[in-house]
């Protein structure tokens, strides 16, 4: 575990750079993490991020399949929003733990 300053806030992050405490998250932090991943966040991105956070609070296991059925984006659009890391990058930006799902 390490402490990192993101968008002027000191946050605890894991070795891989995921937030330890999802309540420390805010939009500015999301934008800064996204920048490191070369992603410019749009409103559509935030819709996905909020969905991921809500599902995480509800203790549901996340898969790209479940996001694809969320009604917000289909799987293809999810890949377009978060290239090369539809679940990993989106989870990192959403401030939630690293996904553990295989699908």
């Amino acid at each position: 575990m390490a402490v990192k300053t993101i968008a002027g806030v000191e946050v605890k992050v894991t070795e891989d750079g995921y937030l330890e405490d999802m309540t420390q998250w805010n939009k500015e932090i999301a934008k800064e993490i996204a920048k490191e991943l070369n992603i410019e966040l749009t409103d559509k991105h935030f819709e996905v991020l909020n969905y991921l956070r809500d599902r995480t609070i509800a203790k549901e296991a996340l898969t790209i399949r479940s996001v694809g059925k969320s009604g917000i984006v289909d799987i293809k659009q999810l890949y377009e929003l978060f290239p090369k890391g539809p679940l990993k990058f989106s989870s990192k930006i959403a401030g939630i733990p690293k996904p553990t799902s295989c699908i």
Partner: protein
């Protein structure tokens, strides 16, 4: 300070040559997992593996109830080979397995193929096997990009961070 240079995989080429439920799913999970990691993915179906991309059969794949020493009864007792050979048993066991997989959130084969191509993975069928089984392109899933020879498949496997996986 110690520096370790990581050399992540850039491409995987997965060959699915068997048509059992578990063999096809092993290939699909590995292919989809690779796509999700941002790894370029080619998935090549050949011989009985074609069952996994044939429209008529892909969502009704079977697992072998005879000749499968790992097969267990629901309580965990060994599954008698004699029982596995009775008519209808393989169908029933396979349907039960597909149901359990569905409960775990695993998609049916047609949807799994769509997930792989949605992420940029590419699916191919083997020319020789397609000819042998007298199949046509229209009988195969719409997610199949092309029917290619093994030589063409190898051409797709270039690059020094490429792995070929045979299941």
């Amino acid at each position: 300070m110690e520096t370790k240079e990581k050399k992540p995989l850039e491409k995987v080429c997965i060959i699915c040559a068997k048509g059992n439920l578990e063999d096809v799913y092993a290939s699909l999970v590995m292919a989809n997992g690779a796509v999700m990691e941002g790894i370029e993915t080619n998935l090549f179906f050949t011989f009985f593996g074609l069952e996994g991309i044939t429209k008529k059969s892909m969502n009704h794949l079977h697992t072998a109830t005879t000749g499968n020493p790992a097969m267990k009864m629901p309580g965990g007792l060994p599954f008698p080979t004699m029982l596995g050979g009775l008519p209808g048993v393989e169908s029933a066991v396979s349907a039960m397995m597909r149901k359990q997989m569905d409960e775990l959130g695993m998609p049916p084969v047609d949807e799994f193929l769509e997930m792989i191509t949605a992420g940029g993975g590419t699916i191919y069928a083997c020319r020789l096997a397609v000819d042998m089984f007298k199949l046509t392109k229209s009988q195969l899933s719409d997610e199949v990009k092309d029917i290619i020879t093994i030589g063409e498949f190898y051409e797709l496997c270039d690059g020094d961070r490429t792995q070929i996986i045979f299941t």
